[in-house]
């Protein structure tokens, strides 16, 4: 199973060696809001794909975040991509071409680890630490994967859907159930 773009077209096998620049310039379909293209690589192809994107002009990593789809009713994915509980979403910005692209990688809950983008975009260091801290995805080859927002000895990953919000009952407002 290889990487696919939002139309379900394969964009190459896991080695990303034949990723042609022309396929990146195809903006005829918008796979997401606010971006020109959405790409769905596998975990193995992820690092290579981002490296190729950087070389083809995406100078800045605008954001890297993780999403927990545990309570999501169902999301649209191209054929051939198996949905997992977690997704790592990377938004890249090209200042020279004024384009944005989004890379979404499925990360299974049983083995929540993925390659780190630190050697490609050093600015992703803090973003990956936040994803580790709040969702629990480990980034391999990250220089310093420690908690960044929660105290050091905190247990658990707060932004996971099965982690309660920690509300205390107050007068005039009982704790609401999940929506």
């Amino acid at each position: 199973m290889g990487s696919r773009d939002a139309n379900g077209n394969s964009i190459g096998d896991s080695s990303v060696s034949d990723l042609a620049l022309g396929e990146l310039n195809d903006v005829s379909h918008a796979g997401g809001i606010g971006v020109d293209q959405v790409l769905f690589p596998t975990r193995e192809a992820y690092h290579g794909l981002v490296l190729r994107l950087k070389e083809s002009g995406f100078e800045m990593c605008a954001d890297l975040c993780a999403v927990d789809f545990l309570t999501h009713p169902g999301r649209a994915l191209p054929d051939g991509i198996r949905p997992e509980r977690f997704e790592v979403v990377v938004n890249l910005l090209s200042l020279s071409q004024k384009r944005r692209v989004r890379v979404r990688v499925q990360v299974p809950e049983s083995d929540a680890s993925i390659a780190s983008l630190f050697d490609v975009y050093p600015g992703s260091e803090a973003m990956e630490r936040e994803a580790y801290d709040l969702i629990g995805i480990r980034f391999s080859n990250h220089p310093d994967l420690t908690r960044i927002l929660m105290p050091e000895e905190w247990e658990g990953h707060p932004l996971r859907k099965d982690y309660g919000s920690g509300r205390v009952p107050v007068q005039f407002k009982e704790t609401p159930g999940p929506r």
Binding site: L149, M150, P151, Y163, G164, S165, G166, V168, V170
Partner: protein, 188 residues
Amino acid sequence: MALEDLPHNFLTGSIEELVKWARKSSVWPATFGLACCAIEMMSAGAADYDLARFGMEVFRNSPRQADLMIVAGRVSQKMAPVLRQVYDQMMEPKWVISMGVCASSGGMFNNYAIVQGVDQIIPVDVYAPGCPPSPETLIHAILTLHQKIQTGEITKRRHEGTPIELEETPSSPWVPEMPTAIRLGTPR
């Protein structure tokens, strides 16, 4: 000389009044601005809502030189030990104003990350509600504190001071207690 150690008789009465007046006229706040309320605290210290007319424009950076800690902003779980440490470093007599709803009760952030009220960590003298409280509200809180210092109510309370034990499950329905600011009336 601590006011509490003086024997209370008609000779020392006027000394007490003088000391209390001196204490209230030059309360020096320590900077503990955390979030949005800090901006309103700075506005209160700036031109339009001047805190200098109360003798309070010097925000001491070192807690050892400060009398008042205005906890302005939301206190996260990571910040709580730091808050306690800064409070411990202040010297008696010291007062605390909890500014804003996040410091008073956790505010709109009723979740895992925010301490639900700084009175879980330090004793608070005046609560100033608002999100953020406008500088006028903060000045009202400060004047309430001044009045409490002037009447000696604070030192009396501390002296009697065993903390009130709350019952686990109150049997009667909860009735809100009137806040002190309303009881004292509008300060002149």
